[in-house]
Subunit: 398 residues, 2 copies
């Protein structure tokens, strides 16, 4: 079981704070956006005598509400195609447990969300990474690259859309290509759509929008980012494939039920006014624009503008992103402040990639983000491991 | 992945209810005891702006509180030996993922909690059942039986104490025997102690009370039954083994954090007055006494009196417990009422066992429990598959 590359840095962040240095956390996807008070109020007002197990698939009332929510985003499902999970994490685990046998392979474009590794270890399956590149903003790799990696053990392709950690938003054309290859090779398409509400450029295309592959798609979802309710631990697995649903239900039954109070929040969230998302989305867009502009203005830095989610990957003129991120916490401060970033190495399955890249989560307000960019700009001037900006390819050859 | 033997009966219960028949649910461990209002109030009063991810091991404040709770039950641990989990279920899963490799074996006295099967499938490990018998109240099987089953793949023994489904409370002598065999063969002792507070006869001995095997014990715990808060989904994995702790933390980090609102409940629960448990414990004891007395007064029925938890297994004069439990829902009623029981077959790993046994959970008040016993008594008179009471051995030979 690999250690989380981000967690490794936590002790250095704690040490910096103990020295009185303010640390801007751009390293994790924990938004500062307020959880809608109405959904917390729903819990406060709930009349509960006995906090019982819910249905293993989640309260029927919540699943029926979610059907309305999905309808609004063009996903037509019924409540018996939804299993409420403990966060998106459990939805991903159930997908792995259900669709993959030990030793099976799931193809994932890299860089990818590092915790997929943990779920793969738990399910004893292998992740086969296919590299996407910063030069084209981490677009879907050519389908030929997928074809080359497909073996008899390949059972699924997983995409996160919009993407964590790249922020890339897959186009309709790319989603159609994924559909073709999944149908051709009879693969599941796992679609992690945690950031659906945060698309800034171009059209949001869900795997559930693709026609004629209903039995292949397993949607993994969560309210964590949508309503800034990460601590609720409430997600969903959605599939029209009856066999997958029935098998996933057995795992759901083994763990009895998803969290009860969180389901009250989730149900209330569907009743938030439709314009609810306008404010957080506008806020994230302003932050993205500021951050990407600042990054690209720094000498030797390249950051493609992400179309969705609240992450970006930037290439920096540095020798080693793990060393640099540690150095930021251990040896650097600017006006008694520093910034915590995630080394991109942890998001690649291929050893050696991401050494001159970092992931930044724009989860802080514009003032904090500006201060964090000031820190990074000055850090890049001071960092002893600064190199002229070289490509990933050159870096690997070194 | 096996289907839950209890869940199979749910459609029959629903159909009975649609016909207007009242169904007494003695089939599941969902208590009717009120969740302490004070712990729900703690959530209502919590000042939350952003419901953030907690620490992956759970809020430090909650873990420190739990240290106080454990101290009271004679378990001396510190907060860095506790990982807060999503229910006891996740604690069991983390134990399996962490201590067992795919193909490894865990020995469990049968009958055992059926969901262990689901977690074993998820972790690709094998459960090796060792039969305990109703004749001696499901006492720990002789240590020679364990010795016979140990292979190079055996990595752990799991006990649930007090036991679900048998209600058996392991004695200090039995716990010491388990310790000896675990030390001799270098096995983990997984100890599921969900029902710790409900011991009626004899002394409660935690695996954590055993001296000299600190590195072998992994405690799996939950607040579900303790505070009648099953829907909260809050448990804990506790171990003094640093390597196990570190490895379990990686799985905890992959799923980010346990439920946030539930942790507020859990923290408040430790501050309930010490006499809080007196009332539910007295209530369960009255129920046990009533139920066991009623059962043993029925011709051909044998039910050993369980020393703890809120379950009992009874041997009935029937041909097939699955058929009987379905018949109760489908073809029987008494005063327009019936009772739902769990066929014991689902709790045995050995095919064919439990065919003349059922599990009863005494989770209903005395009036309902009396009515449920009236139903069962009359059902046994009417049931067409009634047989003279024969032993399990004879039944298997048929």
């Amino acid at each position: 079981m690999p250690a989380s590359p981000i967690r490794k840095l936590v002790p250095y962040a704690e040490a910096a704070k103990k020295k009185g240095i303010k640390v801007y956390h751009l390293n994790i996807g924990q938004p500062d956006i307020e959880t809608p008070p109405a959904i917390l109020d729903a819990v406060r007002k709930a009349d509960i005598k006995v906090l019982e197990y819910s249905h293993s698939a989640g309260n029927e009332s919540y699943r029926r509400k979610l059907v309305q929510y999905y309808e609004r985003v063009g996903i037509h499902v019924d409540h018996e195609q939804i299993i409420i999970t403990t966060g998106g994490s459990e939805a991903i685990m159930f997908g792995f447990f259900t669709c993959l046998n030990p030793g099976d392979e799931v193809i994932i474009p890299e860089p990818f969300y590092a915790n997929y590794n943990g779920f793969a270890v738990a399910a004893s399956v292998n992740i086969i990474p296919i590299t996407s590149y910063i030069e084209n903003g981490f677009a879907l790799p050519p389908i030929e690259d997928f074809e080359k990696m497909i073996t008899p053990k390949t059972k699924a392709i997983l995409v996160c859309n919009p993407n964590n950690p790249t922020g890339y938003l897959y186009s309709r054309d790319e989603m159609e290509k994924l559909k073709q290859i999944c149908l051709k090779h009879d693969l599941y398409l796992f679609s992690d759509e945690a950031y659906r509400e945060f698309c800034y450029d171009g059209e949001y295309v869900s795997a559930m929008h693709l026609e004629g592959m209903e039995d292949n798609v397993v949607l993994m979802d969560t309210i964590s980012k949508r309503y800034s309710a990460c601590g609720a631990r409430l997600g969903a697995l959605v599939t029209k494939n009856k066999e997958v649903y029935a098998a996933a239900m057995k795992f759901a039954q083994a763990r009895l039920s998803p969290p009860g109070l969180a389901q009250i929040m989730g149900e209330a969230a569907v009743d938030l006014p439709e314009h609810y998302f306008d404010t957080p989305k506008a806020e994230y867009l302003s932050r993205r624009n500021l951050m990407v502009e600042r990054l690209n203005a720094m000498p030797g830095v390249f950051c493609p503008s992400p179309g969705g989610a609240f992450y970006a990957i930037a290439r920096l003129p540095i020798d080693d992103s793990d060393k640099f991120c540690q150095w930021l916490l251990e040896n650097f401060s600017y006006k008694n402040q520093t910034v915590m970033l995630a080394p991109a190495t942890g998001f690649y399955g291929t050893e050696g990639l991401g050494k001159n890249e970092v992931r930044l989560a724009y989860v802080l307000n514009l003032a904090s983000l500006t201060a964090a960019m000031d820190c990074l700009e000055n850090a890049l001037k001071d960092y002893p491991g600064r190199v002229k900006n070289i490509s990933q390819q050159e870096l690997m050859e070194k």
